[in-house]
Amino acid sequence: MGLTELFGAVFNLDHVGRYIHWGFIQLSVSNAIVIGLMIAIFIAALFLPFPGRRSRREGK
């Protein structure tokens, strides 16, 4: 196995990306995915219960 195979990425992203054009907005698909993930994590942080809350309550 050569070094390239050993250290190469599983997914090769070194090719020109795809872009979303919406009016004057230009957004790469990869940036859109990252922004979507950030929003999803923010919403999850708002609605998911704090870990350990149940055990604390049960311990009261």
């Binding site: 992203l13 070194d14 990306g17 872009y19 907005i25 230009q26 950030m38 809350r53 604390r56």
Partner: protein
């Protein structure tokens, strides 16, 4: 003395409820471990951008006529760098915000004389080329009006010239020593020697790539590559990365102003300074939020905090 009225934006009532234990060391350790694991896994899956560096050698080999035409603009002082102003020279006022000439105030701290730094000085490092040495002597001893005449004639020839058999083919009458100089500079660039000459002007060990970058930025090769990769200023380039990698998404607001009028139209020439000033103003507004009536009430009125601490407010 009259008691001060309670202001829900500034004053906080004394908390008289229960307290819960919170282990910040445990939370912090979990966060560091999760981020470290994510970093390793994402690096294995996606690696990082590995775009081959653009050099003057690659530029002049790919598009020798664009290189020669750009070198000509460096020599006659009409290139983007030569006419930019501070911090490179005093050819223009530079970036300004209204009457505030910010770039001029900072001064010329990266002095670039494009004719000498990009053309004459690199050529003078080439040894054992008597024809070139003679051409450089002729150029140096000519009057500025004579040089301008040669430059105008050679520029005219370059626009219809070509490159074949490793040599510039330019039909330019009365161009003085310029065919010899530009021909030698193109050959020097194609060999890779010009890259080295431009980064070693300050000493043997250097990581200062300002001059080769400015030279390349004046041509169209680098700009075309940036355009393909969506890295130009008018393509939200500040938040993009080469290839299909995600970029600096958090710079969306900064780069957005470059896309909208008047920053993209009538203010375009000073957009760098104006966008910076506007962002500083917005940052100041954010920093002063607690003292700005109306703006400081938004978190209280939006009530996201009641969602986060819903268990607490349920029991109140």
């Amino acid at each position: 003395m009259a008691k001060k009225a309670f202001n829900p934006d500034i004053d906080a009532p004394e908390y008289k409820g229960k307290y819960s234990p919170y282990d910040i060391i445990k939370e912090g350790t979990i966060a560091v471990v999760v981020v470290a694991l994510l970093t390793v896994v994402l690096a294995v899956l996606f690696s990082s951008p590995d775009e081959k560096a653009v050099t003057i050698k690659s530029w002049s080999n790919a598009t020798p006529m664009d290189f020669a035409a750009t070198a000509m603009t460096e020599l006659d002082g009409s290139s983007g760098t030569a006419t930019y102003g501070p911090p490179y020279n005093n050819a223009a006022t530079g970036q300004q915000v209204g009457p505030l000439t910010l770039a001029k105030w900072m001064g010329i701290n990266v002095n670039v004389n494009t004719a000498n730094d990009f053309v004459v000085a690199p050529l003078s490092t080439l040894a054992d080329q008597p024809a070139l040495t003679s051409a450089l002597t002729t150029f140096a001893s000519a009057s500025s009006s004579r040089r301008a005449n040669w430059e105008a004639n050679y520029s005219k020839g370059l626009s219809s010239g070509s490159f074949s058999n490793g040599v510039l083919q330019v039909a330019a009458a009365n161009a003085g020593p310029l065919p010899e100089m530009l021909g030698a500079l193109t050959a020097m660039a194609r060999s890779g020697a010009l890259d080295q000459a431009l980064v070693t002007q300050k000493g043997f060990y250097t990581t200062d790539y300002t001059k080769p970058l400015l030279f390349m930025a004046d041509g169209s090769f680098l700009a075309n590559k940036a355009q393909v990769q969506h890295l130009s200023g008018d393509q939200w380039g500040m938040m993009n990365e080469t290839g299909s990698y995600p970029g600096q998404a958090w710079l969306w607001l900064y780069t957005m102003w470059y896309q909208v009028p008047p920053f993209s139209t009538s203010w375009g020439a000073n957009a760098d300074a104006l966008v910076w000033a506007f962002m500083m103003l917005l940052t100041l507004l954010l920093a002063l939020t607690p003292w700005i009536p109306g703006l400081r009430s938004i978190p209280r009125k939006v009530k996201v905090y009641r969602l986060i601490w819903r268990e607490h407010y349920k029991n109140m």
